[in-house]
Symmetry: C2
Amino acid sequence: MSTTYSPPTQTGIVEQGDPADDPRAFRRALGQFATGVTVISTSDGTQHVGMAVNSFAAVSLDPPLISWSIRNESRNRDTFVSNGHFAVSVLADDQVDISALFGRPHEGQFEHVAWTAGIHGDRLLDQAIAHFECTLEATHEGGDHVILVGRVKRCTRLDGAPLLFSQGQYGVAEAHPQVELTSAAPSVKSSDAGEAAPLFTSLLKATEQHMSSLFDEYRSRLDINIVGSRIVNLLDTAPASAEELSERALLGEAAVEDTLGEFKSRGWVSESADKVFALTEAGRSVRADLLRSAQEFTSSRLKGIDPSDLEAARRVLIRLLTS
Amino acid sequence: MSTTYSPPTQTGIVEQGDPADDPRAFRRALGQFATGVTVISTSDGTQHVGMAVNSFAAVSLDPPLISWSIRNESRNRDTFVSNGHFAVSVLADDQVDISALFGRPHEGQFEHVAWTAGIHGDRLLDQAIAHFECTLEATHEGGDHVILVGRVKRCTRLDGAPLLFSQGQYGVAEAHPQVELTSAAPSVKSSDAGEAAPLFTSLLKATEQHMSSLFDEYRSRLDINIVGSRIVNLLDTAPASAEELSERALLGEAAVEDTLGEFKSRGWVSESADKVFALTEAGRSVRADLLRSAQEFTSSRLKGIDPSDLEAARRVLIRLLTS
């Protein structure tokens, strides 16, 4: 397959090929499908295991079935299969730390989180936005994973918005811009002072989404994606390990490792014997280019706006952000 | 299970129970897990079928496997199983219309979209952000669905951001606010004019996300969720069918139908013989309450801000939104 950072062709294809030849490229393509993040746990009364999973999927309404898959090499695989029951917690947008905690093998993970034992004794995370308590209905071989189908015995919907994992990074869901633009439209045209004030928040949202989408378009012409630019920015402040980068940038570890590998082959980063990565001279120059292009983008959008209006707008935004 | 709109308890539980007793509540709980949206297609050279699917999941890297499931009652079920191959297109954030088009049975769907035939003859949607061209590796019974496992023969990653489906509505992914707040922090404190300008876009994003999260918190205290409030707002402009509401509000049909059923039982909407829904007097009063609470929220946040600063901020935002 072609390299990760090849500039897009006219048809928008970044890379294409047989995934058997390049598992990392396959993983990047899979990352285009956005998902929520779950923690799935099982307990035998003594041993309590849990892991972050994003292969969760709905299967059937009647009977109520869901599925997910676990690597055959995972040390928890046999425990999940032999316990015969498990509990799924769908994480909320403020549970990034919990996703990271359960994203790697770690003793005593449950000591760091609030949980409640469910009907099968499996641990449910408090503050999650949904719980599915399941018995194991079936297992199916699935290559290097096994697919577990669970029959949901009790389900719970809780308040909150979902944590997302998409294109290698953590995120949150926003209402679709088509909806927001529609709802903000009156405030754009309205000169009715009575109605103007309540719609400021809609205007703020519509403007932010419009700018984000323009900037995404602008960035897509650069030879680096958002994961790459975030890593370059972080390494510019201090050298770091892949794990530190993943935690500080809210990026998936697979995406960080792929990107660091790519950056090494480009000569943008160096790796020390203890696996700490640092920007090279070439990497610092990439960072300077990125900063300059972000500045150029913003300047071009702000061009022609009265500087005193801009200062006032900045005061309003800072006030809203900090109050 | 308890009704949909019961006010949250102290623990945040909205509803809980055995999903076998209430499939709709189960579906709402499943909706808490955010997903991308795919269109999965198969062709036998003569007949070309495609359908919107969000049960897509990664299964295995080596061999490269993915899975999804289809209702046993779907008229396309046997076609997918007997053709023995299919193609997955992961939709981009500007493909809501395509999701709706493939969301219901419809002759000649492919006449309305740009597509390219893949290596097995299955149709791939242009402008999608990933393609997975698969042979059918295995099928597994899964209650009222069958799980199809595909072996990926060719995969393609394309430019673009994903369309999301989450909590009954279409959306887009935003970088996690923790990241944005960090990157905006310098502009909040900075008085360096040279560096201030480029960061206006970061400040805009951080402020919008902060306000959204405050408003979500505020709204969670009301006896109506975002899907419900959007439906009330649309019905306030004109009566509409469930299908029209789903299209205009970018909501999933299941979520719209559930909500309309709930609203009918509350006396907020009436349904005509030809299945057109309209707000009742009680429904209009709910709409007025919603508007008032949004106004109260915005006023409380804007309180104490210099009115001339606010007017200037509004001018800047409108300029950015419309240029």
